[in-house]
């Protein structure tokens, strides 16, 4: 199998108000074509940041990144936009459909940013993608007229329409109830079965099980499952201690009163 994504010692530092945040601190990650990878970890550990680097939404502070055999860590914004358009499909937690465009127009959107795609071809491919997610009967609807699950399915169609090398999803079920969430997961599984590479961020261990492989992120680094478990327990313990101390302090204050 060919290596689709190859990240070596990727770092990302944010500077905000003279505070340095090391969101990613040396990530090594490879994803093969056709793989289904789930990324999980506690809140604020850097999952979304990692996904945005994989998806070329942002450039790393340091490290090397080869996508489909091409070095992409140092290219300019326009080149990144072109590669993004061709190689990456995004699915967001909040669906991110454009309210002023109807379903069909939303799905056609990535193709409008691609050269040499005629209007009729655009329409044809959008319809095809909508059929794959089972939304072909709602093409004239606006996002506000759809349920959350339907909106996410349209978003999946939009991610698929450009036939990208990889689908990136950041908590695709986060805004959905469990029934709709499961339906979306089933849809992704089906796509994966059809050969699509998927990289998904999720909190939910049930959904992570859909994936071939799980990657755990902790404090901006990838760790294995046991380490994660251990780190988590330590953290919980620390939290409990803190709560206990706070309680004790409160009680003494109450006593004094």
């Amino acid at each position: 199998m060919t290596q689709l994504i190859e990240m070596t010692d990727i770092r990302k530092v944010f500077y905000a108000d003279e505070v340095e945040t090391h969101a990613l601190a040396g990530i090594h990650l490879s994803i093969d074509a056709g793989e289904y990878v789930a990324i999980s970890g506690p809140s604020g550990c850097g999952k979304s940041t990692l996904l945005s680097l994989i998806g070329l939404l942002d450039a790393p502070t340091d490290g090397r990144y080869r996508l489909n055999g091409v070095s992409v860590e140092d290219i300019n914004a326009s080149q990144r936009a072109r590669i993004r358009n061709k190689e990456i499909g995004f699915i967001f937690q909040a669906f991110n459909l454009i309210g002023d465009l109807n379903v069909l127009e939303n799905v056609e959107l990535p193709l409008t940013y691609r050269d040499g795609v005629s209007k009729s071809e655009r329409r044809e491919r959008a319809m095809e993608a909508l059929k794959r997610v089972g939304m072909a009967h709602r093409i004239r609807h606006f996002p506000s007229q759809l349920s959350g699950g339907q909106q996410q399915r349209v978003a999946v169609a939009r991610a698929l329409v450009g036939e990208p090398s990889v689908l990136l999803a950041d908590e695709p079920t986060g805004n959905l109830d469990s029934k709709n969430g499961e339906a979306v997961m089933a849809l992704l599984a089906e796509l994966h079965a059809g050969g699509v590479t998927i990289c998904m961020v999720t909190h939910d261990p049930r959904y992570a099980d859909f994936a071939d492989r799980q990657v755990f992120v902790f404090d901006g680094q990838i760790v294995d499952e046991e380490t994660l478990h251990k780190l988590r327990q330590e953290e919980e313990q620390r939290l409990e201690e803190q709560i206990g101390q706070a309680r004790a302090r409160r009680d003494t204050i109450v006593d004094h009163a």
Binding site: L57, R80, A81, N85, L109
Partner: protein, 836 residues
């Protein structure tokens, strides 16, 4: 300070957003200020009442239709407003329910007092004039009804208050003293009340004299006796309960009877149809509560148009303000919803908004005063002193009150949309908004776009209009006058007003012309009876050898009495024959020179020289003048009208000119020559005032005042509107850019390149611009129709101007759209992950 909490609460958001609030106030001040400035002129010229009691009761009489004899009108009103003295007496004698009928006529007077002679404005008035005006003297007495009935009776003067203050230092002992008016000793009997300067405010009267003195004081054809001498303006004060139509209905049949019985028998040689029209002349009453002057008639259309233009500027400003308020309301939306959720009623919300609008309106009204003053000064500096001096450069309280009213109205207009937006916000909306649904403000973003489209349309309209006026001004300035007006100094003198007899005047003219010609620095000098390019006309019916005329043929030609070097001084080419010489004097055979238009009108063909003509018509008229020269056509009374048929006669063969105009061409500095004129004239008579000393160039500039006024102001206002519209567009794009930054980030995530995003924003701007331009072109057509009468040499629909305006606007739109578009291009795609 203890501010009520309601007000404090309402004003806090304004104080928090100082820049936006400041912008609103500035734009309101600009919009309202230019309107107030123009309205101040509009008010003074067209609306301000005469300073007399119940001015609205005053009406001028008019009688349209043909007349014979001498007809003389001035800037007070058209031909149809003048009547004979006898007709005044006849009409006054008719028993009808009105409060009096008076007559007046303004004239130029040279006034001597204590050995000083000045040139002033006089007014011949009927003795009942002041009674009809319902005025009481400020000093002494005024003329009384019933006195001075015979011609030559009443060598008395009433001074205008201002003149009395200015020239006599408000000396109370002036009554009883002697004033020399046009060479005649007159007794000062009183002073008219403050502010009253006669009925024609644009020819303010300095001295009032009885109309019976006309033959002694005016070297004109004006006479008391002849029934066919039409020269007096008649004004009637109506009774409060009587409508003008009622009075006209009573007077008209009696008027026609008078025409039939007394005037018709005096007519000579007319066709039956002409006589019928003469006898059918009607009598109209025109309200003149605001005074009588053709400045009002001439100014009405341009001033109305200017007010429309400034109104559009205000509208553009209002749209900007509306957009800013809307943006404010939108960013306050959450807060408003929370207030509502906490139980604030609609009325409270509305009151709060109204307080904000009122506060901004008040500040805007205050700030508009300097803008209005500046506008007023610009306008006054553009129009000649003769028109502007009666106008006040300060703002009337009524005008200011109007400004404040407009300011409030504008704020309410601009505030309507945000008000609805605030009232329409429901408590639940606040929660829904946060749920991350896009498209919540689709209505308001559409509204903002529509408003900007409207602004662009208005700006285009104004650009087109200003283009038309600039082109028109350009056309007028470029007119081939048929003469060279550069480097020519002009002035006039009126020795007859100083009591010179005709013989002495003629001698003075000839000698002064000679001395002027010999003055160092003068190339050539001449005399002319008609001041050129000042709307003055002098005409005669003529007979021309070989031209058959029936009694209804138009045989009028304009006439000018000129010196030997007239054509040379003004560079009017001689095409055939000869010019006048010093030898063309009284004793020699009478000669004339005609222009080409004259030769054409009277079918003279090629053989012009040697033909004979006469300054009279009718069978058996002796053709006593020989035509000795043919000159090229040159403009006469105006720049805009084609050269009329003209004939010229030599000053050496003309007696009885009471005054004359002089022209002197200099190769040097005209200003230097102008300084040499008063001493030269003083050498002849130190008491002879030099009038209208200026350059011919300046004279010509003053005749195109409307073009210059409209050209300058329309451009100024169009530029202002364009600037405001650009600011508005920038604001809207910037706001929508901020509102859409998430969407833009998403598009970037999906692969839109920075260029694609930039293009998208610019396309948005262009769509607004093109829509606005289409609508604006239609609007411009409408407004162009209105201004058609003011345009010269250009049609109100000029594709080139529309296209230029569109190009200018597109350029402005692109500039205004560039910054927001660049910002759009730099949106970070990673924002898509945080899209909520």
């Amino acid at each position: 300070m203890n501010v009520p909490p309601l007000i404090r609460d309402a004003l806090r958001p304004l104080l928090r957003r100082k820049v936006v609030s400041g912008l609103i106030v500035v734009m309101l001040a600009l919009g309202v200020g230019v309107n107030t400035g123009i309205f101040s002129i509009f008010h003074q010229v067209l609306l301000e009442k005469l300073p007399i009691a119940q001015a609205e009761q005053l009406h001028a009489l008019a009688s349209p239709g043909p007349r014979q004899g001498a007809n003389s009108a001035d800037g007070t009103g058209d031909d149809l407003f003048v009547f004979s003295y006898s007709m005044w007496q006849d009409l006054k004698a008719i028993d009808a329910p009105h409060q009096g009928l008076a007559g007046f006529r303004n004239f130029g007077a040279n006034v001597g007092f204590d050995g000083q002679t000045t040139s002033v404005s006089g007014s011949f008035v009927t003795p009942n004039y002041f009674e009809v005006m319902d005025l009481a003297p400020a000093l002494g007495r005024l003329f009384r009804p019933g006195e001075y009935t015979e011609a030559g009776e009443g060598a008395t003067v009433v001074l205008a208050y201002d003149h009395w203050r200015r020239e006599f230092g408000a000396d109370p002992d002036v009554v009883g003293r002697t004033l020399i008016v046009n060479g005649r000793a007159m007794e000062i009997i009183g002073v008219a009340p403050r502010e009253f300067v006669g009925v024609n405010r644009f020819d303010p009267t300095d001295i009032f004299v009885p109309i019976t003195m006309v033959s002694e004081l005016a070297n004109m054809s004006w006479r008391i006796e002849p029934r066919d001498n039409y020269w007096i303006y008649l004004i009637m004060r109506l009774s409060p309960e009587v409508a003008p139509e009622q009075i006209a209905a009573i007077l008209e049949p009696r008027y026609r009877t008078i025409l039939r019985e007394r005037d018709a028998p005096l007519l000579n040689e007319v066709s039956d149809s002409w006589r019928a029209r003469f006898l059918a002349r009607g009598l109209e009453l025109h309200p003149i509560g605001v005074g009588m002057s053709n400045v009002g008639d001439v100014g009405r259309t341009p001033l109305t148009l200017l007010l429309t233009v400034t109104g559009l500027v205000l509208l553009v400003a209002c749209v900007n303000i509306a957009n800013l308020l809307l943006a404010m309301a939108i960013s306050d939306r959450g807060e408003t919803a929370v207030r509502m959720a906490l139980g604030a009623g609609r009325r409270k919300i509305m009151l709060r908004q109204l307080l904000q609008l009122g506060f901004l309106a008040l500040l805007g009204a205050l700030a508009c005063v300097p803008v209005a003053m500046a506008t007023l000064h610009v306008v006054l500096s553009l129009i000649p002193d003769s028109v502007s001096s009666p106008l006040s450069a300060s703002l009337d309280w009524r005008v200011l009150a109007t400004g404040i009213g407009v300011s409030l109205g504008a704020m309410l207009l601009a505030g309507a949309a945000p008000l609805l937006q605030a009232l329409g916000s429901r408590p639940v909306a606040a929660i829904r908004e946060q749920a991350g649904r896009s498209g919540g403000s689709r209505f308001s973003s559409r509204l903002r776009s529509t408003l900007v489209t409207g602004q662009i349309a208005l700006a285009l309209t104004l650009l087109v209009i200003s283009g038309l006026f600039i082109q028109s001004l350009f056309n007028v300035a470029r007119v081939d006058l048929g003469m060279n007006i550069d480097q020519v100094v002009t002035f006039s003198i009126s020795p007859a007003r100083n009591g010179y007899p005709a013989e002495r005047s003629a001698m003075l003219f000839a000698e002064l012309e000679q001395r002027l010609d010999e003055l160092p620095g003068v190339e050539s000098a001449t005399i002319s009876s008609v001041p050129l390019l000042t709307y003055n006309n002098w005409g005669n019916n003529v007979s021309v050898e070989g031209f058959e005329a029936s009694s209804d043929t138009d045989t009028r030609s304009n006439l000018n009495v000129v010196g030997p070097r007239f054509f040379q001084t003004l560079s009017i080419p001689l095409m055939a024959g000869r010019s006048f010489t010093e030898q063309d004097t009284e004793g020699r055979s009478k000669v004339a020179i005609v222009n080409r238009a004259f030769a054409e009108k009277f079918d003279m063909g090629d053989a012009v020289i040697g033909k004979r003509m006469a300054r009279a018509t009718g069978s058996g008229v002796e053709l006593d003048i020989e035509i000795v020269g043919l000159v090229a056509d040159a403009r006469y009374s105006t720049i805009k009208d084609d050269p009329p048929p003209q004939f010229f006669v030599p000053s050496g063969q003309t007696r009885g000119l009471g005054g004359a105009v002089f022209y002197a061409r200099t190769p040097g500095d005209p200003e230097a020559l102008m300084r040499a004129i008063p001493p030269l004239v003083a050498e002849f008579d130190p008491n002879l005032p030099v009038e209208n000393l200026t350059t011919l160039k300046r004279v010509s500039r003053e005749t195109i005042i409307i073009e210059r006024l409209m050209g300058t102001l329309a451009t100024l206002f169009a530029a202002l509107a364009t600037l405001l519209a650009a600011a508005g567009l920038f604001g809207v794009l910037n706001f929508s850019m901020a509102q859409r930054s998430n969407e833009l980030g998403l598009r970037a995530a999906l692969g839109a390149s920075p260029t694609a995003l930039k293009r998208m924003m610019l396309r948005h701007a262009l769509v607004l611009a093109v829509t606005g331009i289409v609508v604006g072109t239609a609007l411009a057509l409408l407004l162009g129709r209105v201004s058609a009468g003011l345009l010269y040499g250009i049609s109100p629909f000029e594709p080139l101007i529309s296209v230029s305006a569109a190009v200018i606007l597109l350029a402005v739109v692109l500039v205004a759209g560039w910054l927001p578009a660049r910002k759009a291009a730099s949106v970070q795609p990673v924002q898509a992950l945080r899209y909520e």
